[in-house]
């Protein structure tokens, strides 16, 4: 089944992004989930190209995007502006927000239910 909603994880660190992916994927096995972490050369930072790839490669066309710290958000915004997809950047706790959205998407919840459960996690 193709799902309308997906999740993108964006972190300054490769391992953090991948680790978050592993944690979330364990519970949300069917949620379209992609991630990007670190700069192109593996340093701490954000990569426009990696994030763009994570957005484009995600099977869904409406994406909830979670980021660790504010500077990754700005790169994510530029990707969002240049991508054909709908990318909703969510100002929630990175791990907890991504986990929540992914589990709800996995269960086939509608957008209102997803947004309602993300609301208490907004901290940025």
């Amino acid at each position: 089944m193709t799902k309308r909603f997906g999740v993108v994880l964006v972190s300054h660190v490769e391992e953090l992004a991948y680790g978050a992916y592993k944690l979330v994927k364990e519970s949300a096995t069917e949620t379209p989930l992609t991630y990007a972490g670190g700069t192109d050369d593996g340093a701490i930072g954000s990569s426009f190209d990696k994030i763009m790839q994570a957005v484009e490669e995600n099977e869904a066309d409406y994406l909830y995007a979670f980021y660790d710290l504010g500077s990754a958000k700005m790169t994510l915004e530029m990707v969002s502006e240049m991508s054909e997809k709908s990318v909703e950047i969510v100002d929630c706790a990175f791990i907890e927000g991504a986990y929540t959205a992914s589990v709800l998407i996995n269960g086939g919840n509608d957008k209102q239910a997803i947004d309602d459960q993300l609301a208490p996690l907004k901290i940025k």
């Binding site: 700069t39 050369d41 701490i44 990569s47 710290l69 504010g70 700005m74 915004e77 530029m78």
Partner: protein, 195 residues
Amino acid sequence: MTLTAKQTRAWLLNFSNKIHDNKQYLSDLDQAIGDGDHGSNMSRGVTAVEAAITDESLEKASDVMKKAAMAMVSKVGGASGPLYGSAFLEMAKVIDNEAIARVIAAGLDGIKKRGKAEVEDKTMVDMWAPVVDALQDGRLSVEAIEEAKAQTKPLKAKKGRASYLNERSIGHLDPGAVSSSYLFIALLEEVEVND
């Protein structure tokens, strides 16, 4: 008068050299109130800018500036990537047809839209805003740039990594404002801006 592709290239290459020369200094400033990577971020970014704008077939200033923008967005890795990138993108939209003061003002707008910072938040805005004012008055100078840089020191950071420090960010120059100072000193060195 408007900038040519040649002038824009010279400006950005001069800026790039200044960044490389001050890479460690910028990182040291960032270590004090951030995460210590502003110099390496900017160096990575301007290295990509050099490669992207060296192409002589870029005929218009806007072509050069747009290439620089995408290089910064793609390669810097830190907040200053999308910030300089947004500034350069907005400047690219007007650089072929507007005077320098309007061009830099467009760049400032790009930074404000991307980072949501205001004057006195201890960010790049605190360098760009006074420079825009000085250009509009036809009196941009190295002294004005250095003064704007010094004015960031007593500010408390309200945006970016430094904002986590609250009062402890006071007493430090903002690294992005310092790197921006090199952009405008380079501009003065390459272009007659006050005509």
